[in-house]
Subunit: 312 residues, 2 copies
Amino acid sequence: MEARHLRYALALAEHEHFGRAAGALGIAQPPLSKQIADLEREVGARLFDRTRQGVFPTAAGEAFLARARRALDEIAAAVVDAGRAARGETGRLRLGFIASALLDPLPGVLRRFGRDRPDVRLELHELSTSRSTAGLVAGELDVAITLGSPRGAGAEHLVSVPIGHDHLVAVMSTVHPYAGRPSVSVAQLRRQRLIIAAGEDEPAVGASLQALLGKSSPALAGAAVARDVHTIIGLAASGVGVGLGPARMLAAPRPETWFCEVTPRTPLPDLILSFAAKDHSPVLSAFLDTIRQNCPDVGAALDHRLRLTETE
Amino acid sequence: MEARHLRYALALAEHEHFGRAAGALGIAQPPLSKQIADLEREVGARLFDRTRQGVFPTAAGEAFLARARRALDEIAAAVVDAGRAARGETGRLRLGFIASALLDPLPGVLRRFGRDRPDVRLELHELSTSRSTAGLVAGELDVAITLGSPRGAGAEHLVSVPIGHDHLVAVMSTVHPYAGRPSVSVAQLRRQRLIIAAGEDEPAVGASLQALLGKSSPALAGAAVARDVHTIIGLAASGVGVGLGPARMLAAPRPETWFCEVTPRTPLPDLILSFAAKDHSPVLSAFLDTIRQNCPDVGAALDHRLRLTETE
DNA sequence: ATATGACGATACTTCTGAGATATAGCTGGG
DNA sequence: CCCAGCTATATCTCAGAAGTATCGTCATAT
């Protein structure tokens, strides 16, 4: 049973005449007669009544033709769907990102991407740098935005591109003595109980903190350690101490909290976009394209990568 | 694009390996490679990633395979559906019948047929003899039960078989003087205003009435003429006169009406089952089979017809 | 670094079967 | 009764599906 049999049967039902149906199919009449006969033998039932007035489907033929139409529609749709998927118009993009990215690059990128690719399902996961890296390596994410380049097992199979900057800020309860100030100094911070991200979860922030306060500062040693930025803010708001984290971790203002700069201004590692080097999916390419249009300081690595994908 | 391509792609996706998929398909590996390559060329997109760990569908491949599965399912279902339709297990039977048939042969026939062929859609039309005949000739009915053999244009293309008897009865309001009597005589009827079926609608009943009352009886000439038996009963119940019709027109007892025999007992023409001589549909054959099992006095014509259908 | 093995792609051959041409068989209308 | 129109059958041809042999590539083992 081949698709040809379905096409021939449908043409015959449409033209109600072997000769004309064959003409419409671009073949001669005898082959059509034979194919229909073969089809009827394979189905095990007569599908057409040959009368003097024309060729008409039997009840079995009607039942067969209804299914045949749907089968051919599915085949046509298969080609269309595959083409759309190949062009990255449909599909799925699993994005891991650090909370601070929600403030600057992501809103514009996601808005533009959602407009350009309305049928791509976006799965957004707010994750720490280390978790995003692990997700990429394990194939559970397609692309990630992290603070600093991914490190650790499997990171060598990732491609990373800087797409923005960040720096350290402090966060505290609105009843804290420093609340209302535009900035706090290192000396002031040393006298506070600090709240910082767990070292293995946010290695980039941890390194910057060491640079700011000193390698084995007592303030760092005595700091409260939180799993993620939400916890830092929550602990700070409840008066546990002064939280330290990336400036853009504040996607939206929250009640009961006060944010201020840290002097000296302490740059954090760049915002980094990463993805699996061997991932050539068109959805990813489209996303990278959107990134490039939205982030002026994307580097040559992304261009190079895009060129690789296109020439394939 | 042929069904073969779909089957091969699905096998490859299942086995994730060209050699094993080819083995499962009963072909060698190179033809499978070529068919997949041809498919990818026709679709215009790479459908499989060939990696060292195995062969896996791309996003386009996943989209294609989902449709391909449904297409092949439709093809398989087409064969199944056609077979069921050819065996008369599914389909439609449009039955025209005179109301009186609802009392005797139809209940048992329909019950048995509905049990044997639960997926055949029964379309029941209570029609006069002449309307059923016209429906059969016009192809709007598949089978009909009438009073007397169909006559008129196109009736020669019908096959007719007697399946039961009927006779004339009278119907009147319960307040009519004759109500309560087991029978009325011809002499009594002549003194009543009669209600009868329109001659062209029920020719068999009309002929029997003429035989009973005389060719041009004043009682007949002055009778009220109704389109169908329901109207006869309704008019009789409302006191217009005494209705005359087939005994088995009384499918169910009704309030405000009294039925009684007519003496002398006046047989009506046989109940006749008719269908188009060239109709060889399996649903009709199944229905005729049911009729034969339920009606002991079906004649040789039906047997002969059934034999014709089977030997085809 | 080299050898080895597994796997898919390519080159070439073989043969099935789809399609073309010619014609027979059937049937209703003149 | 013949003719016209339509489908089925017979035979041939050729495209293309499948088979065989071999190559190229890459990962792993020695």
